[in-house]
């Protein structure tokens, strides 16, 4: 510190300057010696190959070196792994690496098919290396979808997928406060009108019984400016028979093998009209369009055992309302828009995107230790290892109860819930892993709860025409097409999201609808639909 004090007159002689520079240099050599530990060496001194593996991991996740399966992995491949653990701003970091052509030997959980459209040449084509990865080969044979979602149009495979089991059909489930329902003496709603009446009763009859009119009948967190997300009111479209699946956040859906966009669909207008009716009656949280996920989450946890929210979407009741209030809430079954409608109610259907993913693993084309890298990749997809990657180490987080049966243990830290726990302990979802179809698994509490909570909606899932009405999660688009879509979407969503919230809060959808549709057409919404249609057709053919 002393050297900074230039201002003190006499002390800053030239000698001072010299000392300062000398100190700087000394410090610099010291640290650079200490810090630069040969990053590019391909082998250790005793000849073991060194693999640099970058992993885009969740920030809750502990250090890689603390996971037991990691040392097993090193044993199995006979190599030493140097981890580059990135848990924030991965996308920015990735862009710089790629554009500079500078990638580590292997990347876990961080590359997607979009990257491959531009930077494919940086990565090893694994389609001809499957013989060296018997586990992967077996997976591709037994689970054709797993292969399909990573195979590019020219047959190359740059990314390996992840295959899970036990996940639900969708993420967003609608909950209602059963205790309130009992308090106001009403039945579980089955139509929008019944729902409306229930919401009015929630507002007026003090169902939480604290004498204050602090109940918020209906709540959701603010929709993003870049489209809808999970747990948001566009989900009501299912009531009108419109099947939401992947890419529905930006409006795209498939009806009878035709790609469409609900932002210019009359049914979207009906949803807005219903929401506007609720808003005008003061049934929706005033903050619904401004409070973010985290605030909305806190709000629904209420005060002590006094609930504040009547109806809202969530992952599971205990996740959404907290352990204390979860018991008050029940999942809502299919809601018809009108009592006399013939169109069946459908549920949001995202089975494929929840069970599979295609971002798990990629190997650099320039790796000096390709053999070791392939060994590691293969090891990930081993039966035990897959369980460990998804739920944590055998022995501490999971248990092998039989030849093909496993048990996910409750969190060792009892203050954590099971889904947080897996993110703390291991790489969890999207890691390179293959949970076998015939494995018997005792699932963790969160999955059991979500499977249970989804039951009331089962008829709505059954009503989905999974052959002709589903937008596949893993469509393949060329880099140029992606650019066009993204560019158009930026403009389109800017209009749609702003209009949606204005219409819900201030009304006027009827008057402005036609002009709005025209604006969207000028913003090339139809061009996007065409691009998706083409990709959809290609996907269905293959």
């Amino acid at each position: 510190m002393r050297n900074i004090r230039f201002g003190e007159g006499p002390s800053f002689s030239r000698k001072g300057l010299k000392t300062a520079i000398a100190a700087t240099l000394a410090a610099s050599t010291l640290v650079s010696v200490a810090a630069c530990g040969g990053n590019d060496t391909a082998t250790t001194e005793d000849g073991k190959p060194v693999l640099n593996i970058a992993v885009a991991k969740h920030s809750l996740t502990k250090k890689m070196s603390q996971m037991k399966w990691v040392s097993d992995l090193e044993k199995e491949c006979g190599c030493v792994i140097k981890w580059q653990e990135v848990s924030s701003d991965w996308d920015q970091k990735k862009q710089a690496w790629f554009a500079a052509g500078n990638v580590p030997d292997m990347i876990l959980k961080g590359v997607n098919m979009t990257d491959m459209a531009t930077y494919g040449s940086l990565f090893e084509d694994l389609s001809d290396d499957l013989d060296k990865m018997p586990n992967v080969k077996e997976m591709f044979e037994q689970v054709p979808t797993a292969k399909k979602i990573v195979t590019e149009s020219d047959g190359k495979i740059h990314i390996l997928p992840s295959v899970k089991k036990g996940w639900p059909t969708t993420v967003s489930h609608l909950y209602i406060n059963q205790k309130w329902l009992d308090a106001v003496g009403m039945k579980m709603p089955t139509t929008w009108d019944e729902l409306y009446d229930v919401l009015v009763a929630f507002k007026e009859k003090d169902p939480n019984g604290n004498g204050k009119a602090d109940e918020v009948p209906f709540d959701f967190h603010s929709p993003g400016t870049g489209g809808f997300g999970d747990y948001q009111p566009h989900l009501l479209l299912g009531s009108l028979g419109l099947t939401l699946s992947s890419n529905s956040g930006t409006g795209y859906f498939v009806d009878d093998n035709k790609v469409q966009n609900f932002f210019i669909d009359e049914r979207f207008k009906e949803v807005i009209e219903f929401l506007n009716k609720c808003w005008s009656a003061g049934l929706i949280n005033k903050e619904a369009f401004t409070h973010d996920y985290s605030t909305a989450q806190s709000f629904a946890r209420g005060e002590g055992d006094t609930a504040k929210v009547g109806v809202t979407w969530g992952w599971t009741a205990s996740d959404r309302f907290g352990a204390q209030l979860a018991d008050q809430y029940e999942p809502v079954g299919p809601l018809k828009a009108k009592a006399d409608q013939t169109e069946p109610v459908v549920g949001e259907y995202r089975k494929d995107s929840l069970a599979y993913n295609n971002i798990a693993l990629a190997i650099s084309a320039k790796t000096k230790n390709k053999e070791a890298a392939l060994k590691v990749a293969n090891a990930f997809y081993g039966e035990d290892m897959s369980i460990e990657l998804l739920w944590g180490d055998l022995g501490t987080d999971t248990e092998k109860t039989g030849d093909h049966s496993y048990k996910v243990l409750p969190p060792a830290d009892s203050s954590k819930d099971s889904s947080t726990w897996k993110w703390t302990e291991t790489l969890a979802d999207d890691s390179p892993s293959w949970i076998r179809e015939d494995d018997e698994i005792e699932y963790p509490a969160d999955l059991i709860e979500v499977q249970e909570d989804e039951k009331p909606m089962q008829s709505a899932f059954d009503a989905v025409d999974t052959k002709n009405d589903i937008m596949p999660a893993f469509l393949q688009l060329s880099a140029d097409d992606l650019k066009t879509i993204q560019l158009n979407n930026t403009t389109i969503l800017n209009t749609t999201m702003s209009k949606f919230s204005t219409w819900v809060t201030k009304g006027g959808v009827d008057k402005e609808w036609d002009a709005y549709v025209n604006t969207l057409k000028k913003a090339n919404i139809e061009q996007n639909i065409e691009i998706y249609q083409k990709a959809y057709d290609d996907y269905m053919k293959s």
């Binding site: 003190e8 030239r14 100190a23 701003d89 500079a100 996920y293 806190s298």
Partner: protein, 328 residues
């Protein structure tokens, strides 16, 4: 003016190791000056000033206080607007999370190192340049200024920069925090403008007569008189290094070299990754709530060290009185 300016100044130089005395000026207690003639108008102004100061203090101190109480409160209560004056649902969870994370100590060490060494280099490079450019006889200075100023607006973008750093071996090296940002043009301009306007030209005349070259003039006369600006520029640079996370984010691959801000960002981002996230990451609600608390604790953890620095720098603001002595 010139007569009184030159001779005491040069005498002062020879007499006391380059330090210029300000006889009998600095030691007048400031508040005495105003006791003598107080008009009712002065009282009114005083009241207005105190009212304004009170307003400023309240409007700034409350949010700061809020950060403190929020960092030890239950986040559900914070998010619902129930934490107002005192912490509610008190817990140290946020700080426990921050300080039990061993990475944070490495982060502190790295940041202090980068900031101190970096600031040192910044000052050594910036101040002489600023001085040189403040001299009107320096031909070509306008051109050089333009050369500098352009860089405030035009940059080549992330990728060419990355490639350049890669070429010169700065990727994943701690020097990347120090070397590329050696000159901040904004600071350079401020320092230059200070030298231009606050250092009396008579001093230079005197120095010339004493036979001082520019080097000696700068080091022995200008710098000691500029402690205030050196302190400010030093502070600017220090804080720039302190807050820099982008460099670590993009150019550093080894976690042990990451600065504090990156470590804190990691701890902090533990929540946002789930927010409205995609299906596969949905549902980690409990973690979320706890991570929110960290958000406030992080501010305290990263700002506290800077709190110590400011009074240290403030000290230099009162030294400028010396210049006046020469001018007078």
């Amino acid at each position: 003016m010139s007569a009184t300016a030159t001779s005491p100044a040069s005498k002062g130089l020879d007499a006391s190791n380059g330090k210029i005395q300000a006889p009998g000026r600095a030691d007048i207690p400031e508040n005495k000056k105003h006791i003598t003639q107080r008009t009712p108008g002065d009282w009114v102004i005083d009241i207005i000033i105190w009212a304004l100061v009170a307003f400023v203090i309240v409007s700034i101190i409350y949010p700061l206080w809020f950060v403190i109480i929020a960092s030890v409160s239950n986040q559900t209560l914070v998010n619902n607007g129930q934490v107002l004056v005192l912490p509610k649902g008190f817990s140290w969870y946020g700080y426990e999370q921050i300080f039990q994370d061993s990475r944070i100590w490495t982060g502190y060490r790295n940041t202090i190192l980068y900031a101190v060494v970096g600031t040192l280099l910044n000052l050594v490079i910036t101040l002489p340049a600023a001085f040189a450019l403040s001299r009107s006889e320096f031909r070509g200075r306008r051109l050089i200024m333009l050369f500098f100023t352009i860089t405030m607006f035009v940059n080549g973008g992330l990728i060419p920069t990355y490639l350049l750093y890669k070429q010169v071996g700065l990727i994943d090296s701690w020097l990347v925090f120090i070397i590329p940002c050696a000159v901040n043009v904004y600071n350079l301009i401020i320092a230059r403008s200070f030298f231009e306007t606050s250092i009396p030209e008579e001093l230079h005349d005197a120095a010339q007569i004493d036979g001082l070259g520019y080097f000696s003039y700068f080091v022995r006369i200008v710098l000691p008189l500029s402690s205030a600006i050196v302190a400010v520029i030093g502070l600017y640079y220090l804080v720039q290094h302190w807050n820099d996370f982008f460099t670590g984010l993009i150019y550093i691959n080894t976690y042990e070299k990451q600065p504090l801000q990156m470590v804190l960002r990691d701890i902090l981002l533990a929540n946002s990754a789930f927010a409205g996230g995609s299906g596969s990451t949905a549902g980690a609600g409990y973690g979320q709530e706890l991570a929110d608390q960290i958000k406030y604790g992080v501010i305290i953890a990263s700002t506290l060290p800077l709190l110590v620095i400011y009074p240290f720098i403030q000290k230099y603001f009162n030294k400028g009185v010396m210049i006046g002595a020469i001018k007078g």
